[in-house]
């Protein structure tokens, strides 16, 4: 009996990956492997100024001296960094004047993914930057945003057009040599998004980047930098998918957020990289460094993530609470099934006085997967009257999966308060039967239960994303009352 219900539950979660197609577009690639020449090749491809190349080379030389971290609760065979192509760009006309100039094959790709690049067709106001493999191919609503002084473009373009801003902020939150994967990214990053919100401006629309790995044997190393000046506000969304391939592909991104006084940055991610097949073959290694700094007083950074994809996820979106009265938040739903492994969480570093952080982490494990929450709450000696609240809940589907929680708490003063709550539960036969008895089939019942479990985090997502995220969790919201 146990097996019957659980296999139904599992079927529900184990729905097939829908984004696994490959688009046949001609790509312009770097030779396989990594050395200083490749770093120079990438920099030259992007027509970068000397200072950028120097920055990359410095990071690369450091990387050579570093070792891959082994402390995460994940297992994988050694990665051969010489087996990866570090630069791949869809071949297209050199410069794009409008979205209409995009390769029609690529456009069809994004139609399949449900992302319209056609500004006229977009009903809701979401500006999108699209990154395929190594380059940004389109940014929508650019003009409209620039009227407000908002800069939203690819990082390559920012290096060309706004070098002072890039020089000032790039690496200021995640230094080039912060960790193994951040150093690798700093050496070979190829594109990503740049976003600057000037003083006092509230972005009138969601800014969003859509990442897609398409080419074979390529790694994706994008870099995103968001700067919110005094009193500004921006909500930023990030989505990602990849084709189904038998080999593992590496994704090592860096995201840096800077919030000045009274500024607020809300960063949401729906991560749906290809997780590998049911036997654990293939899938993306998602080794990402995401960090924000609340530089000014009363600033706020909020991370929300829905992690459903990747063979391995290694990711800790963090906040450095430097300004007094600043606020850091982390809301996460991480789903693992089959052979997926996730080691994810956050780091809240309280430096300013009266700083507050809130962590809500929901892990859902199925199949033979392993799901770990790893978090650090550090409160400095001078961060008096600071507060943290952490809630880490795990939901298990079946009895072959694992959920682990590694909370680290360091408090260096005695006026601060840290609270940590954790629960682990299983989807019970009793819950499913209760739903069945009200006329609800098992598949819908599981969706309702998972949805309920993740609700606190899903509520943090902007509407457009919440819908996609709920679908991803195999949740039908047909039964909701608005």
């Amino acid at each position: 009996m146990n097996d019957v219900v659980l296999s139904n539950i599992e079927k529900t979660v184990l729905s097939d990956y829908k984004y696994g197609f490959v688009t046949n577009i001609r790509a312009d690639e770097a030779p396989m492997g990594l050395n200083e020449d490749i770093v120079r090749f990438i920099s030259a491809k992007k027509n970068e100024p000397q200072w950028m190349l120097e920055w990359r080379l410095k990071a690369f030389r450091q990387w050579l001296k570093m070792e891959e971290p082994v402390w995460a609760n994940v297992k994988f065979p050694p990665i051969n960094y010489q087996d990866i192509i570090y630069y791949s760009a869809p071949k297209q006309r050199p410069s794009l004047n409008s979205v209409d100039d995009i390769d029609p094959e690529l456009k069809r790709t994004f139609d399949k993914l449900g992302i319209s690049l056609d500004e006229q067709k977009r009903i809701s106001g979401v500006a999108v930057d699209v990154v395929v493999d190594s380059v940004s191919i389109a940014t929508t609503f650019k003009e409209q945003l620039s009227k407000l002084g908002i800069i939203f473009c690819s990082i390559s373009e920012a290096i060309q057009k706004h070098p002072d801003l890039v020089k000032k902020y790039m690496g200021s939150v995640v230094p080039a040599t912060d960790n193994y994967f951040a150093a690798l990214n700093s050496a070979v990053f190829s594109d990503g998004s740049f976003c600057f919100i000037p003083k006092g401006v509230r972005s009138p629309m969601e800014l969003s980047t859509y990442f897609r790995i398409n080419a074979e044997n390529t790694g994706q190393f994008e870099r995103t930098l968001i700067v919110a000046e005094e009193g500004s506000y921006v909500s930023y969304l990030e989505g990602c998918t990849a084709p189904m391939r038998d080999e593992n592909q590496l994704h090592a991104a860096v995201v840096e957020l800077v919030a000045h006084e009274k500024a607020e940055i809300k960063y949401s991610t729906v991560q749906n990289w290809y997780p590998g097949d049911k036997e654990g073959k293939g899938g993306i290694y998602n080794f990402v460094t995401k960090r924000g700094i609340c530089l000014g007083d009363h600033s706020k950074i909020s991370w929300t993530q829905v992690e459903t994809g990747s063979a391995i996820t290694w990711k800790y979106p963090s906040v450095i609470l430097k300004g007094n009265h600043s606020i850091g938040e982390f809301y996460s739903v991480a789903v693992t099934n089959n052979h997926q492994q996730a080691d994810t969480g956050t780091k809240m570093t309280h430096i300013g006085k009266n700083t507050k952080s809130r962590i809500v982490s929901k892990g859902i494990s199925a199949g033979v997967s392993n799901n770990s929450y790893r978090g650090l709450v550090h409160i400095n000696k001078n961060a008096s009257n600071s507060r943290n609240f952490s809630q880490c809940d795990s939901l298990l589907l079946g009895d072959k999966c694992g959920a682990h929680t590694f909370p680290y708490i360091e408090v260096k003063n005695n006026s601060s308060i840290v609270e940590h709550e954790a629960t682990t539960s299983k989807i019970g036969e009793d819950q499913v039967f209760y739903c069945n008895q009200r006329g609800i089939d098992t598949e819908t019942a599981v969706a309702l239960i998972i949805n309920g479990f993740a609700k606190e985090v899903m509520n943090q997502l902007p509407m457009e994303f919440a819908v996609e995220a709920q679908k991803l969790l195999a949740i039908s919201l047909e039964g909701s009352v608005g």
Binding site: Y434, G452, G479
Partner: protein, 254 residues
């Protein structure tokens, strides 16, 4: 409406029901009483289709169909409702959302269009008034942090929403104080009509001060050993279950 014939069932190889026979017609209220461990709740679970119980013999005809061949959700969609003895909690899912899903799943089964938000809320308001339940309770996650009484009232509210043909109430009175029993019974009486039927499973006679049954059945050791009019319940109350036990044990020895 319901005809149970020679029903045998058990769990993990242990026999619990040993030949139940019972017929319930539309418009009737039946009560099954009996000491702990006599199989009352097992009967309720088997009728609702809980999968860990194994039926080894017998049949259950419901509205002209074999109930035992139907999945639990199809039984519910065909109008079988079980008010649970221990309603489960589902964190993060409000009763409102839960009920909207249930109502529309049942409508879909019967080829009806789903109710829109307005029509659904109207229905909710009407049923809330009928069973005297507060809106705030329904916006909270399903049964989470509810008191025993609140859980049972939520069961009755769901019953009002789903308008079952056959309502099976498993020890709905257990854990309730006398005021709560009165409110719950009152709601059941309001919901009962000539087209539906109620099967009450209870340990105590006190519920029957408020819900008047047409038939009382006494269950002992997996069988219905005595049936009679409502007065039988009073006799049980007076003499306790021992007199039944003695009667049966004597008969079996003979």
């Amino acid at each position: 409406m319901l005809k149970i014939e020679n029903l045998h069932a058990g769990i993990e190889g242990k026999k619990i029901l040993k030949g139940i026979n019972l017929e319930i017609k539309a418009g009737e209220v039946h009560v099954i009483m009996g000491p702990n461990g006599s199989g009352k709740s097992t009967l309720a679970s088997v009728l609702a289709g809980r999968e860990n119980y194994e039926v080894t013999e017998g049949s259950v005809e419901y509205m002209g169909k074999e109930l035992l061949d139907m999945s639990p959700e199809d039984r519910a969609r065909e109008g079988v409702f079980l008010a649970f003895q221990y309603p489960v909690e589902i964190p993060g899912l409000s009763t409102t959302n839960f009920m909207k899903t249930a109502v529309n799943e049942i409508r879909k089964y019967h080829g009806q269009e789903p109710l829109d938000a307005v029509a659904f809320l109207r229905m909710m308001k009407e049923k809330m008034a009928l069973v005297n339940i507060d809106q705030s309770l329904l916006s909270r996650p399903l049964n989470e942090g509810f008191s025993g009484g609140e859980k049972k009232r939520n069961e009755i509210f769901q019953m009002a929403m789903l308008q079952p043909k056959l309502a099976i109430m498993d020890e709905t009175d257990s854990g309730l104080d006398i005021d709560a029993i009165r409110i719950v019974s009152d709601s059941v009486n309001k919901l009962h009509n000539k087209d539906n039927a109620v099967l009450l499973v209870t340990h105590y006679q006190r519920l029957l001060d408020y819900i008047i049954p047409d038939f009382v059945h006494v269950m002992y050791n997996g069988r219905i050993v005595k049936s009679g009019p409502k007065e039988l319940a009073l006799e049980l109350e007076e003499k306790g279950y021992d007199f039944i036990k003695n009667e049966i044990d004597v008969a079996e020895e003979a």
